[in-house]
Symmetry: C2
Subunit: 380 residues, 2 copies
């Protein structure tokens, strides 16, 4: 008998889609061939109408639900929402989750071998943007025999992908679920990303992105980048509740190098742990992809115009204390969808956890997402 919870998708195995057809990219370059690693949960129905695509955020990957081995301690990153009877119900839906191009979890990215040189791409990997991801995801859909997604779902950077699907492939999705996202970053968002990038790029172990050739990784820079990111994922209140001014030891040391407060050691740990498991070039690429996305730009900054092609119904969700992608940014999107006369539902969830809330099992959020997903019609 399995040790996994009854509402888990259980043991899952990554699969691989190899494309030998060149992919033209927004940057003007193209990838001659590439691989995408992905997972699926649930069964594709006979009419192929029950497929749901999950798009991941900055540090995400294909492993969204279930376990990779019997003694796997942690399930996939969105296991709270994906499984039998869960909000994205695998008894009804065939769920597809991939690692995006440029990622560092198995899909072709900066750590992959460049077939033209036989060496790691490193700093020579092309820039990949949201539009490119969606194009590569459309090819994955072709490969899986999915002409039209029941829904494309994503939070944060993943929400931008869901939105881009609705704009660029209106015939290929019925529902767009964009959570804790925005149609473009603000100057402050870009500024935080730029700090993260500068931390990585100025690390002497970065070597212009070719650190692999030197047998090192820019750990310092990547750790700092994660520390900055982490602060912006939590609300001021959430940090206050979690750490307050709690000390690491009974009394203060009053010196410059001591770690005095719990929040300091927590952040240092987060940075260090991340720098050992994530690729710095991928981090740069993901932050740039966030910066670049701005579908209204080609329409004189008129977002409603950019949304004109959309036919999908949309659900837009924000969280009250999210200051990285504040509710006001989601309202902008929802209002532009309304202005473009689209079918949109908007929900702001009262939650103390900041941007991180979109990954957490907050009852009202899960209920709302569940109720929306359950109303999506699928053939038996």
């Amino acid at each position: 008998m399995s040790r996994f919870p009854a509402d888990s998708v259980g043991l899952v195995s990554p699969q691989r889609h190899i494309s030998t057809e060149p992919l033209a990219l927004a940057c003007g370059r193209s990838l001659p061939q590439y691989e995408l690693v992905y997972e699926t949960y649930g069964q594709l129905n006979a009419s192929r109408s029950n497929a749901v695509l999950i798009c991941h955020a900055l540090s995400g990957h294909h492993h969204a639900a279930g376990y990779h081995s019997e003694d796997d301690r942690k399930p996939g990153w969105w296991d709270a929402c994906i499984g039998p009877g869960k909000a994205i119900d695998t008894n009804r839906f065939f769920v597809v989750s991939l690692n995006n191009l440029g990622g560092c979890h198995g899909s072709t990215g900066p750590s992959s071998i460049d077939p033209e040189t036989g060496k790691t791409y490193g700093g020579r990997f092309p820039m990949i943007v949201v539009e490119d991801w969606v194009n590569s995801q459309a090819r994955l859909a072709d490969h899986l025999g999915v002409q039209c997604w029941a829904a494309v779902v994503g939070g944060s950077l993943g929400g931008m992908q869901a939105l881009q699907w609705a704009i660029h492939y209106p015939d290929r999705l019925r529902h767009c679920v964009a959570i804790a996202t925005a149609s473009k970053l603000s100057a402050q968002n870009i500024a935080f990303n730029e700090v993260a990038r500068q931390a990585i790029i100025t690390d002497p172990d970065f070597h212009g992105g070719d650190y692999a050739a030197f047998g090192v990784i820019p750990k310092r820079g990547l750790g700092l980048a994660r520390m900055v990111g982490h602060i912006t994922y939590l609300s001021d209140d959430a940090m206050g509740q979690k750490f307050g001014r709690e000390l690491r030891s009974e009394r203060l040391n009053y010196d410059i190098s001591s770690v005095e407060f719990q929040v300091e050691s927590y952040l240092r740990y987060q940075g260090q742990e991340f720098s050992e498991r994530f690729d710095a070039n991928t981090y740069l690429l993901m932050t740039k992809a966030l910066d670049y996305y701005d579908p209204a730009r080609a329409h004189g900054d008129d977002l409603a115009k950019a949304l004109a092609p959309v036919t999908a119904r949309s659900l837009v969700i924000s969280f009250s204390t999210d200051w990285r992608f504040a509710p006001a940014r989601s309202r902008e999107l929802a209002n532009a969808l309304l202005a473009a006369r689209k079918d949109v539902s908007y929900l702001e969830i009262d939650a103390a956890q900041g941007h991180d809330a979109f990954l957490l099992p907050i009852p009202r959020y899960i209920q709302a997402l569940s109720s929306y997903m359950n109303r999506i019609e699928v053939d038996a």
Copy 2:
């Protein structure tokens, strides 16, 4: 005829106070001797009752008003508020502004020579906290013949010093003006400071604080620290209004190393410029001093209890879009002063500029400060 504006204090010269009496510090160590560099504006009256102390913030110094030479392009950092007829009126007040101990603008600090070793202090400079600054400022007051300040005034970290004066030397000030400050940092505040410190400490050119001995400075780390700081000094809206998503060139480059947005090059410039003029050890010390300050800690986190000794009248000012020291933090302080039955005025200024607002000539702010300062009685 002078080229300086009529409401400027004009040409000013820094002065020096040398103390050979050891100063016992909160950290348990002591400074055998030290120097403080300071400036004064206006005239001390016969009863020595018109002196106002200005306390500086993280990157501030003694040069608060006026000019150092005829062709000085920029006046002191708070010239908007200090001068004849200005909010802190030098026709009425004798204004004193110093560079704090541990600073890098002339007062004894990590870049000074340790008399015991004949070498730069570097990483061996003792930790200095708000309480130590106030004690050293009290000695400066003795030196100047000022028994009781008409007011002690400060913004941000300077506001903490004003508050500490009111708590620790209740007989030595009549008014405490605490602007854009808090009685203690939040976990998020500490977290941002910790990112800044880690950026500096992990810079290979830091050498445990002894970079001077190696003939280098940790520019990368200090630049990053400033970039992070700078984002937190501005509001999201202010950044949006100043930069939006404005591009540096006509079209996007779509590559990982390009600086695409104006806000990116602005931040890089701010970081670089700062790293060439400020000392990294001082930056570490100042952020630690911010973290440590928490007068309620010795009173079971009861701020009203900590404020019991206060006899000064207080003016507490906050700015609506300041998220580094949010209005809620100033209200905490004002409410605790009320709970302790002290005389306090609280004012929240509607201003788009975030934390930086406290340095800017925002009319309603200047008028309010001016009107409060003008009501302070001074002998002719």
